[in-house]
């Protein structure tokens, strides 16, 4: 008898919890019907919306070649602040070349004399699995953060990279809450 009561209680609690969680997990369709609420938009855009690295503009990489640096802005086009949290690169073509290239990603400060914050410094290939980073600033609505992306081939690289070409899609993820 007691067993039945316990099982019934457990099942009831689970059912209630499931219902609560199911409702909470629904998209904002229900939120729109709440009279005192507002649909929150969390969104970001990258600028410029063109490829940053092009051999016809920047030249080719070779061992010890100078670092090629580009700037990429993450613009907050949503309603709430964000912080940079994740980089991931997808490669096409001669993916082996990614093992011979180094990449440094800096978050540039807004103020004069503010030191850049290093988000990533390592091989380009390591970004293929994605890397969690810790953005320095919380970027409010309508503002942007500038990422400085530097790529170079160290002088320890050898002949095995000659003539290789790869294409890279560089994904930036931001998240809320903006507090570290």
């Amino acid at each position: 008898m007691k067993h039945k009561q316990i099982v019934t209680s457990a099942l009831t609690i689970m059912l209630v919890l499931s219902l609560v969680m199911f409702m909470a997990n629904q998209p904002s369709a229900s939120a729109c019907t709440i009279p005192f609420g507002k649909r929150i938009r969390f969104d970001m855009e990258l600028s410029p919306n063109v490829p940053l690295f092009r051999p016809d503009v920047n030249g080719c990489f070779y061992p010890g070649s100078p670092k090629i640096t580009k700037k990429l802005q993450a613009v907050n086009v949503g309603d709430i602040p964000f912080r940079i949290c994740w980089f991931e690169v997808t490669f096409h073509g001669d993916t082996y070349l990614a093992t011979g290239l180094q990449m440094e990603i800096l978050e540039l400060g807004k103020g004069k004399g503010e030191k850049p914050h290093v988000l990533y410094n390592g091989t380009l290939s390591s970004l293929s699995k994605g890397v969690e980073v810790s953005g320095k600033s919380a970027i409010p609505q309508g503002k942007s953060v500038t990422l400085q992306i530097g790529v170079w081939m160290p002088n320890t690289s050898g002949n095995e990279y000659q003539g290789l070409t790869l294409t890279a899609d560089f994904a930036v993820t931001v998240h809320f809450p903006p507090v570290k």
């Binding site: 457990a10 969390f42 080719c60 070349l97 002088n155 070409t165």
Partner: protein
Amino acid sequence: MNKKIIFASIFVIGMLALAMGYGTYAYFSSTRTSTGNIFTAGTLNLQLSNDYANWYDGVTATWTSPSGWAPNASFTNTLYLKNVGSVDAQVVYQDLTNLNDLDGLSNYIQVTEISDSIPWGVDPAYGTNYVVNFIPRCDLNGDGKLSLAELASWGDRKTTSGSPHPWDITTSAGETLTSPPPTLPAGGTLGLRFTFKLMEETPNEMQGKTCTIDLKVMASQNVLAGLP
């Protein structure tokens, strides 16, 4: 017993709630992608020519002695190098190798000129004669002449970091490698000119004898470790 069942039930319910809550309370996030970024590594590719018109990965018989080559007679020829890659070569190394000389003829062939072309071109004004640089290092018998045999043995005798290294630099010692122009820029050409002379003291028993040797050249983007 009942208490055990109650605790077990509470534990199971707690775990289920945690599992469901994990999915529910994720952060807001947004991902955007910068696509189509292209990274290309340059090339450094050397081709050779005997006539500056036809280029190959390797050539033969650049230097062939004339028929009736007699003591005190010389002949000159040029091996042309072209960098068909996209990266400048700051240095060009050379190595005389595979000397095939059963009769010792190479001891009587004097190398009187080793020079490279400045500027690049089919009819360059030749620069420094590097033979004078080789004599102090290679003149084993001390006669003040650089024989082909002595030059060929240089690579075997020279040591860097404890191990023999056959390559030697052809450009003048002390060249500032970081200063333009590079020795062999991308798309550029370079002539390596050698002059050989059959020594006056060549004995009669060398008549009709033959020797062969290979010249390997290597263009490098920068000075190789352990080399000058």
